[in-house]
Amino acid sequence: MSSRRDFLGRLWTWTGGALAAASVLVLFRALRSAAPSVREAALDAAAVSRAVASGGAVVGELFVIGSAEAPVALSLACTHLGCRVAGAPGGFACPCHGSRFDAAGGPVAGPARSALARVPLARRGDTWIARL
C-alpha cells in the first residue's frame, strides 16, 4: 500500500518532469523563431562591372560572373560543410576537405555533391542587391 509520502514523492517527480518538458518546448519554439532571416547585401555596380569584365572576381561575400547586364553571383560557402572556398586553377577549391568546383560553381571533385549556390541579384540604382 502506498503511503502519503510515496504519493507526494511521485507528485513532485511528475510535476518536475512536466515543468522540464514544458521548458524544453518553450526553448525549442524560441530557437525555431530565431531562424536567421534573408538579409540583403548591396554590391557596388562598378565593382560588379569590373568583376564580370575580368571574367569573374570576388565582390564582398560573393563571386560575380556573367555579363554586366545580367551578372550572376555565386556563394563562396562550400556546399559540403560551409567552409569559404578560394579561387583555384579552373574554378574554386575548398581548403577544409578538398572539394573542387569548376568556374561556373559545379562540383568537380571531393565530398561536395552540389554546385555553389547562386544568389539572386536585383538592380537598385547604382547597386546590385544580393539576397543572402
Binding site: 560543410l81 560551409g82 576537405h97 565530398p111
Partner: protein, 286 residues
C-alpha cells in the same frame, strides 16, 4: 594464474588526478583571460592578448596547454582503466557520465578553437554548425542553441565554452574523483607541465579571418574527423563520435568475448583516426 576479476584491480587514478589538475589550471587561466576577450571582436581580442597585453601570450598558452592536457590525461586515464579492468569500480551512472567527459572535453576544446576568431576558427564554426544542423528533428535549433543565431557573433560559443561545458566538466570530474577540488600533487604537476610548455613552445597567432589559405586545419584533436569527413556525409560528424562514446560506455556492461570485441573495435577506431589525422597533416603540407 587466474586473470583478475573485473573491478577487482587497484584504482587506476594516476592520469585521472592529473586530468583534474589540468582542468583546474585551465579554468584558472581561462578566468584570467576573460576580461581581455570580447566575443564580438574575437580576432582583435586575440591580437591584443597576444601582443598588446603583458604576459598575455604566456597566459593564453598556459590556458591552451592545460586544456590540451585535460584531454590527453583523460584519454590516458581511460586506457589505464580499461587495461586494468577497473571500470566496474564505478556505479553505472557515474561510469556513463565519466565516459561523457571525453566528448564534453572535445567540445570545450573546439569552442576554444572557434573563439580564436581567425581563418581556421571561422571555418571550424561553419563546419560545426553544418554538423549540428544535420542532427535529425531539431538540428537547426540545436545549432542555434550552442552556436547562436547571428552569424559572426561568438557570444553563445563563449558562454558554453566558459560556462556550460566547463561546469559539466568540473561536475563530472568531481563526481568521478569523489572530491570537489583536485589534490595538490595533481594540480602542481599539471601547473608545472602547462607552464613549461607555455614557456618553451609559444602559441602563434592564426591567419586573419579574411585570409584564404590553400589548406585549413581544425583543432588537433579533431583532425582525424576532418580527414574522415573528406569522404563521408556531414552526419558522420556526429554519428562517428556518438558510436565511439556508446561503444566505450558499453565496455562496463560486457564480459568475455563481447568485451574483447568492443575493445578491439575501439582500438581499430583509434588506429583509423590516427591514420586520417596523419593524412590530413600530410595533405596540408602539399
Amino acid at each position: 594464474m587466474d586473470a583478475p576479476a573485473p573491478g577487482a584491480g587497484a584504482p587506476s587514478g594516476g592520469f585521472g588526478r592529473l586530468s583534474f589538475g589540468f582542468l583546474a589550471v585551465s579554468v584558472l587561466s581561462g578566468t584570467l583571460l576573460v576580461p581581455f576577450y570580447t566575443p564580438a571582436a574575437a580576432w582583435e581580442s586575440l591580437e591584443k592578448i597576444q601582443s598588446g597585453l603583458a604576459w598575455g601570450f604566456f597566459l593564453r598558452a598556459v590556458h591552451a596547454y592545460a586544456s590540451f592536457g585535460v584531454l590527453v590525461a583523460t584519454a590516458a586515464h581511460a586506457v589505464q582503466v580499461l587495461a586494468a579492468r577497473t571500470e566496474r569500480q564505478l556505479p553505472a551512472g557515474v561510469w556513463w557520465r565519466s565516459v561523457l567527459l571525453l566528448p564534453v572535453t572535445v567540445a570545450a576544446l573546439l569552442g576554444g578553437f572557434v573563439l580564436r576568431g581567425d581563418a581556421e576558427a571561422v571555418a571550424a564554426l561553419a563546419i560545426w554548425r553544418r554538423i549540428l544542423e544535420s542532427l535529425p528533428l531539431a538540428g537547426a535549433e540545436i545549432a542555434r542553441l550552442f552556436l547562436g543565431s547571428v552569424p559572426g557573433d561568438l557570444g553563445a560559443v563563449a558562454l558554453h565554452h566558459a560556462g556550460t561545458l566547463t561546469l559539466l566538466l568540473w561536475l563530472f570530474t568531481a563526481e568521478h574523483a569523489g572530491r570537489f577540488i583536485p589534490d595538490a600533487r595533481g594540480a602542481v604537476l599539471a601547473a608545472l607541465v602547462s607552464l613549461a610548455l607555455a614557456g618553451t613552445v609559444p602559441l602563434p597567432l592564426g591567419a586573419p579571418p579574411a585570409a584564404a589559405p590553400a589548406h585549413l586545419l581544425g583543432p588537433w584533436s579533431l583532425l582525424g574527423l576532418q580527414g574522415a569527413l573528406g569522404y563521408l556525409a556531414p552526419a558522420a560528424g556526429w554519428l562517428l563520435p556518438l558510436a565511439f562514446v556508446l561503444l566505450l560506455g558499453l565496455v562496463r556492461h560486457a564480459e568475455g568475448r563481447v568485451r574483447r570485441a568492443l575493445l578491439a573495435t575501439l582500438a581499430a577506431s583509434c588506429a583509423a583516426y590516427a591514420f586520417f589525422t596523419v593524412r590530413v597533416l600530410l595533405s596540408s603540407r602539399v
